[in-house]
């Protein structure tokens, strides 16, 4: 291919530039029910045009431009366009509220903002007056309005500029140093305001190499993209790695159509957060409840045979039942699947392995460019496997996981103190507590700050208990509380789909989710689930009391972060009265 140019590329936009005459398929996107293909050359040309527009507007190398939208080819064009102008992309989660967006814009000092649609535009219009530094706003789907440029216009203007000064963008790309910042990724901020991690082009190059070594990928692979691009792992596999390796990325129509799109695209390598894996398992279980008795028996037998080691029945189970189950889930071509960004229950991994899908758990931080450890084949369940190629892992005296690699970030923007703390002694302080075993497998116990110390002085990691509670099909989320208290309690969020189905089967009357949450029979059901988890725990770890939250947890309400990680302190504040009543 263009390997010589690849090796010479010193920045991410240079990688895209090396594909400007590649007519292979870069992206697939579904518009109005039909799939469209976009070639590398189109992608590169559009990114170049956008970069030219930014140059024309006076965006200087090192300036920040923010991006707020769902996954679509234009997002990537915008990201690469911004970087091609020598600027820095700041991706913002689409679930952010107007005020949170204002924080990101202000904190990063963004000079421009690219929005996707009416929803995001509304948020911008609400905070417009409070962000005087943002001097250029562009919208992709809506029509232009006062102060907001339309995407197609911006591209057209950029092309005109390029025809007048063809070298404008090339000059910027050539001027990028590999240690320059390529993007800002704002961390979740579970305990404080989100911090802006700066990642350089070298960081991204290293991450792509390490990932490709751990999970060999070729240009013939097919990927599917639907997880937020403002998350480092999704950014790596959807934006950066394809530039190097040349594989095709297909974009889902929207978050609700993921299952159908999976069946059509049939990706060969698939990355998903534990929530998605849980949802798939839940979907299968739900369908099986309603299925014909013959199918239920077949499924039960197939899963049992698959988990056992008997050769012949396992082969038959796969050929007759499990292969079709994989086809329904869109996983029939998956060579390797990855679960990351949050802890996953080992039971779920075991189920998928029995199904014949090689799901590997991975672990990383934004600050390590997303990669610290990952299972190899047949990874030890409960651990996150050995280190990624090129990563060193150490456990500090107080049990904290430290890592070192060329993926360690440059620092937090505008926060030298936090940077120094995070990179003390040349090692990245992950803030997680864990262990390394003889074989080099890393296992995570919990976040340091989340570890509960009961009134009796016992150290308890809530994550393990929460994971076990979450492995119940009826429980979507669980938060264990008990710091400096006599015993542990849990706040539980129900899995709406499964609970409504359960209630419908029993013909329980209800109108909304909060009705179900208050229902006595539902309480008994959850109580049974909690008891079965308690039976596997040490006495001091058992949940003595629990409450079912009558409202779901939303990012916009500040209960969870953008990656749906629970913000314990804010939850404890919101439900202080409820918690107190349980003690």
């Amino acid at each position: 291919m263009k390997t010589a140019a690849n090796q010479a590329a010193r920045s991410v936009p240079a990688l895209l530039r090396s594909r400007s005459s590649d007519t292979g398929v870069a992206h697939r996107v579904k518009r109005l029910g039909l799939w469209h293909e976009i070639s590398w050359s189109e992608y590169a040309a559009d990114a170049s045009a956008l970069a030219a527009r930014l140059v024309g507007l006076g965006v200087e190398p090192g300036d920040r431009v923010a991006l707020l939208g769902e996954n679509r080819p234009e997002w990537l064009v915008a990201d690469l366009g911004i970087q091609s102008a020598g600027a820095v992309t700041v991706g913002i989660y689409t679930t952010s509220g107007a005020d949170q967006i204002r924080y990101y814009l202000e904190h990063s000092g963004s000079r421009g903002l690219i929005l996707e649609d009416a929803e995001q535009l509304e948020k911008w219009l609400a905070i417009r007056d409070k962000c005087p530094d943002v001097r250029w706003v562009c919208v992709i789907e809506q029509e232009a309005m006062e102060g907001v440029e339309q995407w197609d216009e911006a591209i057209a203007l950029g092309r005109k500029l390029l025809s007048a000064t063809p070298d404008a963008v090339d000059a910027r790309i050539d001027g990028i140093d590999p240690d320059d910042t390529a993007l800002f990724i704002y961390t979740s901020g579970t305990t404080a305001d989100p911090k802006g991690a700066m990642l350089t082009h070298n960081n991204l190059f290293w991450a792509t190499e390490s990932l490709a070594e751990a999970i060999p990928t070729t240009s013939r692979d097919e990927f599917i993209s639907f997880l937020p691009l403002s998350h480092i792992v999704e950014r790596l596999i959807t934006v950066v790695s394809p530039l190097k390796l040349g594989y095709t990325v297909s974009f889902c129509e929207n978050l609700d159509t993921v299952m159908q799109d999976m069946q059509e695209i049939r990706p060969t390598v698939f990355f998903a957060v534990p929530r998605i894996w849980e949802k798939m398992l839940s979907l299968v279980e739900l369908h099986m409840r309603d299925a014909h008795v013959l199918k239920r028996v077949a499924y039960g037998w197939a899963m049992k045979s698959a988990r056992g080691s008997a050769g012949a029945s396992r082969v038959i189970a796969h050929a007759l039942v499990l292969r079709f189950l994989r086809i329904r889930l869109g996983l029939d071509r998956v060579r390797v699947a990855i679960s990351g960004a949050a802890p996953i229950s080992p039971g779920i991994l075991a189920w998928f392995r029995a199904l014949g899908v090689d799901v590997r758990e991975g672990y990383g931080l934004t600050e390590s460019t997303g990669l610290i450890a990952i299972h190899r084949e047949d990874g030890k369940l409960g651990s996150v496997g050995p280190a990624f190629p090129g990563v060193e892992i150490r456990i500090s005296p107080d049990g904290e996981i430290l890592s070192r690699s060329r993926g360690n970030f440059k620092g937090y923007f505008g926060d030298a103190e936090a940077t120094a703390e995070a990179l003390a002694g040349g090692w990245l302080h992950t803030g997680d507590v864990g262990e390394l075993d003889q074989a080099g497998n890393l296992s995570i116990t919990d976040r340091m700050k989340d570890i509960i110390i009961t009134a009796g002085g016992k150290n308890i990691a809530p994550q393990k208990i929460e994971n076990q509670l979450k492995s119940s099909v009826f429980i979507n989320d669980a938060v264990v509380i008990g710091d400096r208290r006599r015993y542990l309690i849990a706040l539980i969020v129900l899995d709406e789909d499964n609970i409504t189905k359960w209630a419908a089967d029993r013909q329980l009357p209800y109108t909304t989710y909060s009705d179900l949450a208050r229902n006595a029979e539902v309480f008994e059901l959850v109580e049974a689930e909690v008891e079965s988890v308690n039976s596997t725990l040490a006495r001091v770890e058992t949940i003595k009391k629990f409450a079912i939250l009558t409202k779901r947890l939303y990012h916009e309400d500040g209960d969870v972060t953008a990656t749906l990680k629970v913000k314990r302190s804010s939850l404890a504040r919101t439900y202080a009265d409820l918690i107190e009543s349980m003690y």
Binding site: W35, E264, I265, K295, A302, V321, R328
Partner: protein, 325 residues
Amino acid sequence: MLFKRRYDQDLQLIQTPQAWVAFGLLAAALIALPFLVRGYIVYNVSLFLIYALVAVSLAILVGFTGQVSLGHAGFLAAGAYVTAYLSSSDWPFLLALVAAMIVTGLLGLIIGVPALRLEGPYLAIATLGFGLGIQQILNNWSLVGASTGMLVNRPEILGIAFFRDTPYYYLVLGIAGLSIWGCFNLSRSHIGRAFRAVRDADLAAQMSGINLAYYKSLAFVLSAMLAGLAGGLFGPLVGYITPESFNLLLSIKFLLMTIVGGLGFLPGAIIGAAFVTGIEVWLSSFRNWSQLVFGAVVVALMMLEPFGLYGRWLKVRQFWKTWPF
């Protein structure tokens, strides 16, 4: 799952490679038939194809538009007699067929327009009356032999003789096959959709801009034309036609084919025709009890599967299509 790149992919009659294989096998079997079986089976399959055409025409009227007809034997009779008379007056056979279609089409219009005001049982009685009326007219019309009937010769078209069973089978296969294909296309077209809208919710259809009177009459005309075409092919097959053979029982038998096969589905009508034609051959061994057995079989079938044979096939197919769910 299909990777859709064009909207046409949704409309295609045969969408998957498996469907192509199935269709290919069916076509091959039909074409190779005379070489594989004995003469009288070829005759029966020709009869089945003609009945299938009538059943399909009835499916369009009853299944798609929801208008009952107990007089389709009348259209069959009209088609048979017009073709027979014209070809005996030295008209070319194909032209005679076209003329038969035009005449039956007009008859369809004559019964269809007044029928716009009628529904359900009233429409059934009106069409029944029509069928009986046609029979009566033919019975008393000396031009076409009155109650004695007419002799019908098999045609010779463009120098090719279709006198024997096997060549005539291919003629019937060609004409009936093309017509049924046309009906499938009709079903997928905007006209087919309009028909179904009229059946399911005629008030809503009217509000969506579908002219009820036009489409209801169109359904009658098309249905009559197809039955007329079938009639034109029927005459030379059996060799001798009398008004007596186009009786009420025949009309009911056609309706039975459509319902037992699966009301509202074109493949259902074809399967129903195959079922009824096939079962008559089997029933001939019961002699005096044949009618009783026939009735019992139909009752059992309707009780077990109201959606008909094709409906049951669809359910079975759906069961396996969603495997293992």
